[in-house]
């Protein structure tokens, strides 16, 4: 892992997109996580008397139709989005990566089964899976995480399998097997560390997709439920008042867009940095 960190440190200087993307994403993450300990106003307290206010010193971004402070809402909403997306990525990676490694290591019927299962999951858009799950188990943030997480499983399985297959003919895997390592030990000791960069890059991209998916689910009412809030739920609430006060929809909407763009830029930068294949293509193109 030390060489991975070193590579990151070296690349940090050269890659503007990586820097901008990572810093922006970290800022949003910070904003979200500060809300665990502090928000300007508690969002559970409704104050209809001060509803629909414009920006002021007391309320920097104004208040919504129930008098809740928009800064606090955005902070809490960002947090919910990140937590849901992160747990969904964790579900996808923790189940998908071992499946992909297993498929590559054993091959044969197991690989066929895993690939067909992932095809099956890919056939349904995330939203459809989420609707099925939430109709079965009821709407809520946890079920949204599970739904998006299930959608992530085949993505990670494919990435892990592809990475593992590209390493399969390398002699150090054979050396590991000669040293008496089982298929599983070879995958864990020799394959996983070498495809970690691929997985990290995929995780950033899935994080962005997860935030978008959470927002859509909450927007159709299948995700986070009041009194908790998320960026998607804020959009949904703002829908009714969008002509009256457009900033109610614009603020959470822009936040979503900015987070997703930041994560995607960071992901692209990471990929350029970590994936030697792309780097070589880039160098060849530059030489042409």
């Amino acid at each position: 892992m030390s060489s991975l960190l070193e590579m990151l440190r070296r690349g940090w200087r050269g890659h503007w997109s990586l820097r901008i993307g990572t810093i922006a994403a970290l800022v949003f993450l910070l904003i979200g996580f500060v809300s665990f300990v502090w928000t300007p106003y508690p969002i559970e307290r409704l104050d209809v008397g001060s509803a629909m206010q414009g920006p002021s010193l007391a309320h920097w971004l104004g208040t919504d139709h129930l008098g809740r402070d928009l800064v606090s809402m955005v902070m809490k909403g960002t947090r919910t989005s990140f937590v849901v997306a992160a747990i969904a990525v964790a579900i996808g990676a923790l189940i998908g990566v071992p499946l992909g490694l297993g498929a590559a290591a054993w091959g044969g019927p197991l690989e066929w089964l895993i690939l067909r299962l992932s095809d099956f999951l890919f056939a349904f858009p995330a939203l459809i899976i989420a609707i099925i799950i939430t109709t079965l188990f009821g709407p809520g943030a946890i079920n949204a995480m599970i739904a998006v997480g299930i959608f992530n499983i085949p993505v990670f399985a494919r990435v892990a399998r592809g990475g593992a297959l590209s390493l399969k003919s390398l002699d150090y895997l054979a050396a590991g097997r000669l040293a008496g390592l089982s298929n599983w030990e070879v995958a864990r000791k020799h394959v996983l560390p070498n495809i970690m960069s691929l997985i990290i890059v995929q995780a950033t991209i899935q994080l962005a997709l997860g935030i978008l998916a959470e927002a859509s689910l909450s927007y159709v009412g299948l995700g986070t439920q009041a009194p908790a809030t998320s960026l998607g739920l804020m959009l949904k609430d703002a829908q009714t008042y969008v002509l009256l006060k457009p900033s109610l929809a614009l603020i959470p909407g822009l936040t979503i867009v900015l987070i997703v763009i930041a994560l995607n830029i960071a992901g692209d930068g990471l990929r350029d940095l970590l994936d030697p294949r792309l780097k070589r293509i880039g160098a060849l193109r530059a030489a042409d």
Binding site: S3, L170, Y172, A175, R177, A179, G180, L181, A287
Partner: protein, 525 residues
């Protein structure tokens, strides 16, 4: 009037200098060789001429091509590359487009160079010129052998009828017979077309066979440049002398343990691979990688398995080491019968394998020490002190220092890595060591050292060797007996001297004939 003149060429990447004030000139129709070890900068000088240096390279000095400085505009440079400079790369598989028929790739080169008139006919003619048949035009790169791919690369390079052909180690990925054929082809083409040649290699013999003037590069500097006869006949620089001396491997007779009872018996071994069908109506017959092979390897003996690439040598080695399973037949190791992957775990420590490619055989994320110690898990657990002692003993035995163990593989040269790979193979004190082309990925200058070391280790540890190689010359030093393998069968067996002097089979004769002549007269050191 030289065709190309390089004056004080300096190439830097950041603060690392790859080429330092290199000057040379190549006349029209001249054959110019550049010799140096891996990392000496010989490839960089060729890339600089072709304007193919990576973007982050800082270039100083001038290159004059046919009385005009190299264009700085990429578009003009590309035209120059297409029409006047042909480039043949080291690894033809990665230089060809895997998704394009090779005929189309030759045609593309014709069109881009503006010389396409009747493209199909011209492609046919070019393929014919490099010794390929018209039907090969419809194949994809992966359907051709390494030698055929390199011929396609040469055809692509010839498409623009260049004045200068740059060949960057064009044969180092090929086996001996193919190497000789490709060298002869380049030789013939240069003569018939009157092309100038810049031939880059670490193999002195190949350069000597092809070139008339030679430049020796070390660490980015030209250490010696003269015509072939004086470079190889009376080298002035110590480095050149060293290279020439390293090119000839001296066999040393060492005390060996006497040859004992049979250690490994291979009985009628067959390994079949299913081939993808051409279509559902045309199944393809299975490929017999190893076809009814039998031999006996005695304790303390060293047998070499020689043959061209694709002859099944590596498959046989992998079955013996327990990485692959035989379709039919069996192996007996010390009274234990097995068929490959079912080698019992207690015997795993007795048979070890050294891989061909020292760059792929170490996990880049593990320290060398961890990789070398990995096979020790096959032994009963021992005290860390004992393990450290064992590693130290072996690392010293392969001529390296134990304090290198905490470093990562990328910090070492190919020769050093191969030494570590040998240390890893010996760490469990195996009885049989299978070496799959142990030196073919290494520079010629370090091959000799590694072979001599293998000989010494064999004597010191009382090892039994099965060495796989495509090079008879190399095998002479380390093997007691040689088996020649072709298309999965062993076709001839004998001592190295017998085979070199009186080869019976056609393939053996080809192998012997493919040897390049020795170079230079080196005073005994």
């Amino acid at each position: 009037m030289p065709l190309i003149e390089v004056n004080g060429l300096t190439v830097r990447f950041g603060d690392r200098t790859v080429l330092d004030g290199v000057s040379f000139a190549i006349d029209k129709g001249e054959r110019f060789g550049a010799i140096g070890e891996t990392g000496s900068g010989k490839t960089m000088s060729a890339l600089a001429i072709a304007g193919l240096l990576p973007d982050d390279a800082q270039v100083l000095g001038g290159i004059v091509f046919d009385n005009a400085p190299l264009p700085t505009v990429e578009k003009e440079m590309a035209r120059l590359r297409g029409r006047r400079i042909g480039f043949v790369f080291q690894e033809p598989m990665s230089a060809l487009d895997p998704l394009m028929e090779v005929g189309a790739q030759v045609g593309e080169a014709l069109v881009l160079s503006g010389r396409a008139k009747d493209t199909p006919a011209q492609v046919r003619q070019l393929l014919d010129e490099v010794g390929l048949e018209a039907q090969h035009a419809q194949r994809f790169p992966h359907q051709l052998s390494g030698g055929q791919r390199q011929r396609v690369m040469i055809a692509v390079a010839l498409a623009g009828e260049p004045d200068l052909l740059i060949a960057d180690e064009p044969t180092s990925a090929l086996d001996l017979i193919t190497q000789r054929k490709v060298l002869d082809l380049i030789d013939r083409l240069c003569a018939s077309r009157g092309m100038a040649l810049m031939f880059i290699s670490h193999d002195l013999k190949a350069v000597a066979a092809l070139c008339t003037r030679v430049m020796v590069i070390k660490d980015g500097r030209v250490v010696e440049m003269a015509n072939k006869l004086s470079i190889f006949g009376s080298p002035r620089h110590d480095y050149t002398k060293m290279l020439i001396a390293a090119g000839r491997h001296r066999a040393r007779t060492l005390m060996r343990s006497p040859i004992g009872p049979p250690l490994l018996e291979v009985k009628n071994l067959v390994r079949r691979f299913r081939q993808p069908d051409i279509s559902i109506f045309e199944p393809r017959p299975p490929l017999f990688a190893v076809n009814d092979v039998s031999f006996v390897l005695r304790t303390g003996e060293s047998i070499a398995l020689v043959g061209p690439s694709g002859s099944g040598k590596t498959t046989l080695a992998r079955i013996i080491a327990g990485l692959d399973r035989a379709t039919k037949g069996e192996l007996v190791f010390d009274h234990q019968t097995y068929h490959g992957t079912d080698l019992p775990r207690v015997f795993r420590r007795d048979i070890s394998l050294v891989f061909q490619d020292p760059f792929g055989s170490f996990n880049p994320r593990l320290t060398i020490g961890d990789s070398v110690a990995e096979p020790l898990r096959l032994e009963p657990p021992r005290l860390p002190v004992d393990i450290a002692e064992r590693i130290e003993e072996l690392v010293t035995a392969v001529g390296l220092s134990p304090d290198m163990l905490s470093r990562y593989p990328h910090e070492f040269s190919g020769g050093q890595r191969q030494r570590f790979a040998i240390a890893r193979a010996l760490i469990t004190k195996p009885r049989l060591v299978v070496l799959d082309e142990p030196v073919s990925a290494l520079d010629v200058s370090v091959r000799g050292e590694v072979l001599v070391m293998l000989n010494r280790l064999r004597a010191d540890f009382g090892l039994t060797f099965l060495i796989i190689s495509h090079d008879l010359e190399m095998v002479r030093i380390v093997a007691d007996r040689v088996m020649v393998m072709d298309k999965g069968k062993i076709i001839e067996t004998g001592t190295p001297a017998q085979l070199l002097e009186a080869p019976r089979e056609k393939l053996t004769q080809d192998l012997v004939a493919a040897r390049l002549p020795e170079v230079g007269i080196v005073p005994a050191s």
